[in-house]
């Protein structure tokens, strides 16, 4: 029912694409990260909670239709519906059904609830198209509460050492997860401009997030004393950090699980916190869908599909142009 062509994942019966990497007529967008929501398509369809950020990033004037989770929509006789992917606010798996056959495209997803977005919901299907960003058995996530305990402790230690805490996370998804789960009683929290814009857009759209002032020249070193600054990873090694005086720089990313990746980032601390599924999470999702056939996109595709085949689940790897975002690769030097 779905095919892979040079533009993306295509449904010939419905004449639409899912997360196309080239401009097409009709695009269904799983979520608003830039490798899944690309500009130039005529019409977009996405979850309601994705619309504000999609308009922020792709333009206010895009033609965008939205759906809630579980709301069916018929496109040229193909039944389309969206289900929570638990990746970032508004992220969705796309369920496509025709003549009793069901395919599900996961987009990016994580299993563990993050307190910000609707948690992942497995959708039974015949064919499942899954990501595999962390598809190696070395990736195991701790419960998020433990990670935030570590983060809160790190913040407190920095306070007593007279250092400002700069915590980096991708501006859409990770940053909101940090803001929502950090102990706001410890001290003041500021946001970098890029994160401020996303936060305010989401707040206006109705997401329950605390207001964080933006780091501007209006604040002095004194204002930042003992504070936590939420920033995108691209601030590492830039002069933007100078305004805070002595500080500790940390990154939240699943890649921090491996020491080599952490050392390469050249930060003071790495917290293992990801918006993707870990190894067990990927296996859980695949099994929970009860799919007979699995296509594996971006990540450790060949390894994960070989493992699925050996455990009796028919799987094949697919080359896509996903996985170019900040969170998707350990070797990123700059981020949006």
């Amino acid at each position: 029912m779905l095919q892979f062509n040079e533009n993306g994942i295509y449904c010939p019966d419905g004449n639409f694409y899912i997360d196309p990497w080239k401009p097409v007529g009709r695009a269904i967008t799983t979520h608003a990260h830039s490798d899944h929501a690309r500009p130039g398509s005529k019409h977009y369809l996405a979850h309601r909670d994705s619309s504000a950020v999609m308009r922020l990033r792709l333009g206010a004037d895009i033609s965008l239709q939205t759906l809630g989770y579980g709301e069916p929509l018929a496109i040229n006789g193909v039944k389309v519906s969206l289900y929570p992917a638990g990746h970032i606010p508004g992220s969705a798996q796309v369920r496509v059904e025709k003549g009793g056959e069901v395919w599900v495209v996961s987009g990016d997803y994580k299993i563990q609830p993050d307190g910000v977005c609707e948690p992942f919901e497995p959708v039974p299907c015949h064919t499942f198209i899954t990501e595999s960003t962390f598809g190696l058995p070395v990736y195991h996530w701790q419960p998020q509460s433990l990670v935030f305990q570590d983060i809160n402790n790190w913040w407190r230690q920095n306070q007593s050492a007279g250092k400002v805490s700069v915590l980096c996370g991708y501006s859409l998804g990770k940053a909101q997860r940090i803001v929502k789960n950090i102990d706001l009683g410890i001290g003041r929290v500021f946001s970098h401009g890029a994160i401020f814009n996303v936060n305010e857009t989401l707040r206006e759209a109705g997401l329950d997030l605390p207001f964080l002032p933006k780091v501007t020249d209006g604040f002095s070193k004194k204002d930042f004393e003992g504070a936590l600054i939420v920033a995108p990873p691209s601030v590492g090694g830039t002069t933007w950090l100078k305004r805070f005086g002595p500080h500790s720089l940390a990154v939240c990313s699943g890649w921090m699980q491996v020491r080599g990746n952490a050392r390469r980032r050249n930060v003071d601390r790495g917290f293992v916190l990801s918006d993707h599924a870990d190894w067990d999470g990927l296996l859980y999702a695949v099994k929970a869908t009860a799919a007979e056939k699995v296509f594996v996109t971006h990540g450790f595709t060949s390894i994960f599909s070989r493992y699925l085949n050996e455990t009796g689940i028919q799987a094949a790897e697919v080359k896509t142009e996903f996985g170019t975002e900040e969170e998707d690769t350990p070797n990123t030097e700059k981020a949006a």
Binding site: V258, G260, A262, R264, V267, N331
Partner: protein, 529 residues
């Protein structure tokens, strides 16, 4: 063990030397003496023997993790560190364990003596009782590959800071032939008693590469120049009527150099010489790779000894008649050294000659002859300099000749380890030989992080074939490779071996056709000694 694992974690996750120093000081303040002694042993390269070969370890880890072996291997290629891979794939611990580092070291020694099935039971049980961080350290100890991103100097500084001692005193005390079984922390570090270890070396004085103009050094008459030899820096000691040889890495290597035993009756007791271990024939040094192959051999056959006969080219005197000479000026040490060598009168012990010069221009010209005499440049030492501890600026400089260079094509790559895990950073290079590319050398260093990312991304898109962890790559990128020397070699396909090859530049301006030929490369054989 918890505390030790915490120390390793803090050290390896920190990028600032001061934070590492603080972590070490905290450890020295908090840990028990027995653990401190073991920690010191591990941090100064006194590693325990490997308890188990890594093949078994991989099998057992995969079994306990419930994954096929190939998946474990793939994980290892991605993580780039065996101990860490095992630590990460294993399930969460099922029990607690609060054994100390010392207790674990005892456990290790005991487990090493067991039959394989019992050894497996012990190791699996240990894995199930340790957290990920502790498991990582434990695996490092198991595999004997214990290396930490901390210089010995930093450990010395931390000890000095903790106990209010001079770092040069600490450096000397913790050197030598001790093991945690032969001494105590109190005795080794804190006691003023005269040492009973006759082999004990002095810490080496190391020089930086000259980075200013010669004129800034002051008057030429205040300086001494020598050739910088391309061998192994060593310390030759005779005490208690025994010869000891230490390498710069403070490894006792006496057995590797039987030639030096010939000096036993030619040297007085209580001397320590600093110099170069060099293969030598017909009044000239032989290429370094002869020494390298010799070092690698377990048994030194007659043939090897004939092919690579060693001499000790001495350039400093650290001890004479059991007296520490390091505080005397170089000129005085040198006079005594010359006398000593003349009196010894043995061809295995040579005095490193002084390179005469009246002014800096003359010296600059003489440096050009460095390769002809088989050296890699000059050493400049101030005549009134004392013999310091560790790498220090000011009184001693090395002034190497510019490296030889060739342009090569990248033809294969492998992922790196440690901070380069998951990134293709270990490259194989080739040159042209009659229209075909022939593999010449490997190189791992010399690019910036940013360049490594770019090359890594090129490689990932241009893989031709897989051989285990090695990927052959579409030949396209050209790099300028610098190296210190070149010698004929039967072990390499190209017939030559390069000394200390590294990438000097990524020649993005060059097409692969413009890379050098094997003929060009072989022509360099004749220009060097």
């Amino acid at each position: 063990m918890k505390r030790f694992a915490q120390l390793i974690h803090e050290i390896s996750s920190s990028t600032k030397t001061n934070d590492k120093l603080d972590a070490l000081v905290r450890y020295f303040q908090a840990a028990h003496d027995a653990d401190k002694l073991w920690m010191l042993a591990l941090f100064t390269g006194r590693r325990p023997k490997r308890v188990i070969n890594s093949t078994r370890l991989r099998e057992w880890a995969a079994e306990l993790a419930g994954i096929p072996l190939w998946l474990f291997e793939e994980s290892y290629h991605s993580v780039g560190d065996l101990a860490e891979t095992i630590a990460l794939v294993l399930p969460e611990p099922v029990q607690e364990n609060d054994q100390t580092l010392t207790e674990w070291m005892m456990w290790l020694a005991k487990t090493g003596r067991l039959e394989e099935p019992e050894r497996k039971t012990n190791i699996v049980e240990a894995w199930q009782s340790l957290s990920v961080n502790q498991r990582f350290v434990f695996n490092k100890l198991l595999t004997g590959g214990f290396r930490i991103g901390v210089s010995k100097q930093l450990v010395i500084n931390a000890l000095a800071k903790t106990y209010g001692m001079e770092s040069s005193v600490v450096a000397h005390r913790i050197s030598g032939n001790w093991t945690p079984d032969s001494t105590t922390f109190q005795q080794l570090v804190l006691s003023d008693e005269i040492d009973t270890d006759a082999s004990k070396p002095y810490p080496f004085y190391l020089a930086y590469q000259l980075d200013s103009s010669l004129d800034e050094l002051g008057k030429p008459s205040e300086w001494q120049a020598e050739w910088k030899w391309d061998g192994i820096r060593g310390q030759l000691i005779k005490r208690s009527n025994e010869i000891f040889v230490w390498s710069r890495g403070e490894e006792l290597m006496t057995e590797k150099f039987p030639e030096y035993q010939l000096l036993l009756h030619h040297l007085p007791d209580g001397v320590a010489l600093d110099g170069e271990i060099l293969p030598w024939k017909d009044d000239a040094p032989l290429p370094f790779n002869l020494l390298q192959t010799r070092i690698g051999r377990k048994n030194l056959t007659k043939k090897i000894l004939q092919n690579a006969p060693l001499v000790f080219v001495a350039y400093d005197l650290l001890e004479l008649e059991n007296q520490d000479f390091r505080e005397k000026p170089l000129s005085e040490r040198r006079d005594n050294l010359a006398n000593l060598i003349e009196n010894a009168g043995h061809p295995v012990l040579k005095l490193s000659p002084i390179v005469e010069f009246e002014n800096w221009e003359v010296l600059t010209k003489k440096r050009q002859q460095a390769r002809e005499v088989g050296s890699e440049g000059l050493m400049l030492k101030k005549l009134d300099s004392v013999y310091k501890v560790g790498r220090k600026r000011g009184d001693w400089w090395k002034w190497k000749v510019d490296p030889l260079t060739i342009d090569c094509v990248l033809v294969a790559a492998q992922k790196g380890h440690g901070r380069r895990a998951n990134l293709y950073t270990d490259y194989t290079f080739a040159v042209w030989d009659g229209g075909k590319l022939v593999t010449l050398t490997k190189a791992y260093s010399g690019l910036t992080d940013k360049e490594f990312y770019q090359v890594d991304s090129f490689i990932k898109k241009n893989i031709v074939e897989k051989f285990g962890p090695v990927r052959t790559v579409k030949p396209e990128l050209v790099f300028e490779i610098g190296f210190e020397g070149i010698a004929e070699s039967k072990r390499h396909k190209s017939g030559v071996a390069l000394r200390f090859p590294r990438m000097l530049r990524w020649r993005q301006d060059k097409q692969k056709e413009a890379a050098d030929t094997l003929e060009n490369v072989k022509a360099l054989l004749n220009t060097t000694a």
